[in-house]
């Protein structure tokens, strides 16, 4: 990788901003729910104090459990944020591809939901580790998903699959985004995908990587 490729471009910063904005929205939602649940407990206590009703232990326990559940949810969101932030630590690193795809699915769930889609991860590689450029790979997957959701109008379930590919002399890995329902018919390659930005991100990945669009899927062959 050249020195220039290590310098984040404007698109990288936009991507980082988009993901962190989405995560901040999720955190805010959880905090809001915790706030209302704490308020509900306060309401119960207030009513009991005024002897309007007795404090029902089961309702109080339900509220406490809801707070604990949402704290765990927030913890999961913050863990994802932390892992995403650390994806910029090194331009290349050895990682589990299935693990990265899970992280991507968690980060992009809200983007997909806003377009009426759900993400499902299928990992056929188990805990296989590969050398890649984690941040650039996440960025490339994000742009691919945006293309699938916006340009292809995909909705319903979108499968994110990582699997092995067998070439003549070697075994490689591929990542796929597979959609079931689309408002647009893709015959071969339509629109400008992969475009200049996607090609630039591909160049940052180790080895010879390819990105292609098929009728109902986008395939990323890792070198």
């Amino acid at each position: 990788m050249t020195k220039e490729q290590n310098v984040p471009g404007e698109r990288d910063i936009c991507f980082f901003g988009t993901v962190t904005a989405s995560i901040s929205h999720e955190i805010k939602n959880v905090l809001t729910t915790i706030n209302e649940t704490a308020g509900l407990l306060d309401d119960f206590a207030f009513q009991a104090q005024r002897a309007e009703s007795e404090l029902d232990p089961s309702r109080a326990r339900d509220a406490a459990a809801a707070i604990a559940r949402n704290v765990r949810r927030a913890d999961g969101i913050v863990r994802n944020l932390n892992r995403f932030a650390h994806s910029t630590d090194r331009s290349r690193a050895v990682i589990e591809l299935g693990d990265l795809l899970n992280l991507f699915s968690n980060l992009a769930a809200r983007l997909a939901a806003n377009r009426g889609a759900r993400l499902q991860v299928t990992n056929e590689l188990g805990d296989l580790k590969v050398l890649t450029a984690p941040f650039s790979l996440l960025h490339l997957l994000w742009r691919s998903l945006e293309f699938v959701l916006v340009d292809m109008g995909a909705a319903g379930q979108i499968q994110l699959r990582v699997s092995a590919t067998a070439g003549e002399n070697s075994v490689g890995q591929q990542m796929e985004l597979i959609w079931e329902n689309s408002t647009k018919e893709a015959m071969g390659s339509v629109a400008d995908f992969p475009g200049e930005i996607e090609r630039g991100l591909l160049e940052r990945l180790p080895g010879l990587c390819q990105l292609r669009q098929e009728k109902d899927r986008i395939v990323l062959l890792l070198g």
Binding site: H25, N29, T33, L40, A66
Partner: protein
Amino acid sequence: MSEKILLIDDEAEFVETLAARMRTRDMSVTTANSAVEALDRDDMDTYDAIILDLQMPEMDGLTALEKIKQRNPKLQVIMLTGQATVEKGVRAMKMGAVDLLEKPADMEELNRRIKEASNRKMVLVREESEDKIKEIMSQFEVGLSVSSNC
């Protein structure tokens, strides 16, 4: 008076908890987890106030607001949002929302805004009723004068 409220937000747990808190304040609350689900309701005209999230999947709050106001301009919509941009807030108010509150909203403040919205709706409904009565009366008077001339 017990206000009748429709609460629309995609965060299911938040909606149910806020609804429970509003019920402890003697409000009658119906919840919907999407704008599409809310717009499917036949009884939308009967709510004193509608509390609507700005950012939701499927149909966002601004689109929902437009459809609600098209259905009945007298409906009082309070936007409740996690992270509203000033631009979106201004758009919502221009489109006819009566208020914009940021989450987490103070319950007593929300309560006050609901009562204001409910009162506004009552005034609008009363004015409409008075206009209808005046119209009927004027038709009746025209009828009387015609019959007395005969």
